[in-house]
Point group: C2
Chain length 212, copies 2
């Protein structure tokens, strides 16, 4: 059994390690928000004020670091989609997914910028993207079947919405949440079946085209 001293030393070490880890994750989120997830590992180490060796000991690959840095936000997105799918009213489920994802875009800009600009190019996110796409497609189909979502709404219009929202957010500064809410309010009204008048065809935007 270790004595008092070595237990204390090891406790301090563990707490130092936790602190380093947290510092690295904060630095990574900042750097990804500013420069995308291709920013060099060394730049993240500098920003976190840890050695490159320490960084690689905690996060052996870039993918591991990206995943950890955005784990919470990614989980939130997945949760939002699941809740929407679980709503017995498919139109309400569709609206709440749109509202929640767009509000997350407005309030957690670092994540969304990194997500929009870089994740889709990385093979390790193809699975997440495909799963999100399937969930969305199901949500859309059900909302159409309920008669509330216009029949010509296209999965690619979801990408269009996210891109439009990112433009509103980028331009609105501190008023990003208000700008996003108003834009989403308008768009959800135009998505209603009862508002439907003929539209130009959907732009060929897959979820993979959220990268630009």
């Amino acid at each position: 059994m270790p004595d008092q001293t070595s237990r204390k030393a090891s406790g301090t070490l563990r707490s130092d390690a936790r602190e380093n880890r947290e510092r690295i994750l904060v630095a990574a989120r900042e750097a990804y928000a500013l420069h995308g997830i291709d920013v060099p590992m060394a730049a993240i180490a500098r920003r976190a004020k840890v050695g490159v060796a320490t960084l690689y000991r905690r996060f052996p690959t870039r993918a591991a670091l990206v995943s950890e840095a955005f784990a919470e936000q990614l989980a939130h997105c997945v949760g939002v989609l699941h809740e929407g799918l679980a709503d017995p009213d498919p139109w309400r489920g569709f609206c709440s997914v749109v509202e929640d994802v767009c509000m997350m875009q407005a309030t957690e800009r670092g994540f969304t910028q990194a997500f929009l600009s870089q994740f889709p190019d990385h093979a390790e996110y193809a699975v997440e993207r495909d799963r999100a796409e399937e969930g969305l497609a199901l949500l859309i189909r059900r909302a159409k079947e309920s008669g509330r979502l216009r029949p010509d709404f296209d999965l690619r219009d979801f990408t269009l919405l996210i891109l439009a929202n990112s433009g509103a957010i980028a331009g609105a500064g501190d008023d990003a949440p208000a700008a996003s809410r108003r834009l989403v309010g308008y768009l959800l009204q135009s998505f209603r079946a009862e508002a439907a008048a003929p539209l130009p065809p959907p732009a060929p935007l897959g979820l993979d085209r959220m990268s630009s």
Copy 2:
């Protein structure tokens, strides 16, 4: 009267000057699109492959160069607004201004980027902006009075539309015109009085907030 030789020389000189002028304007548009209109005059001279002295001889101030570089596009915008105001059907006039301005955003990206990101901060454009704002406000008032535009449409929603459109364009790459047309199609449907359901309040975006 000058003899043949000197006339020919002067003709050549004038054509050289025209060529220089055109090269400077092309370089300026490119540089503004990439870096905004605060790019140093010297950088534009380098890009145009002319001396700084030549640049300043043609365009004594930055404002003069910016005005000349975008004279055509600015004139087009003003023309679109005037046409919209002249339409005997105010709703059709409103829709065509929205459609034309958004399509110009999608097809002449250099201009719009420079316009959106920089013009509003420059005092010399305050007059143009105020005039555009007055024209838009009149167009909106008439379209509401005709009963076609929803009563809660706000001038600031025009800015929101431009920002949303710039996001769609930035993300859609070569499909920018299609993405913009589809987005504008949706938004115009949500702007119709007959589609109106309650909305979140307008975001506090003036035309001056197109800069971000």
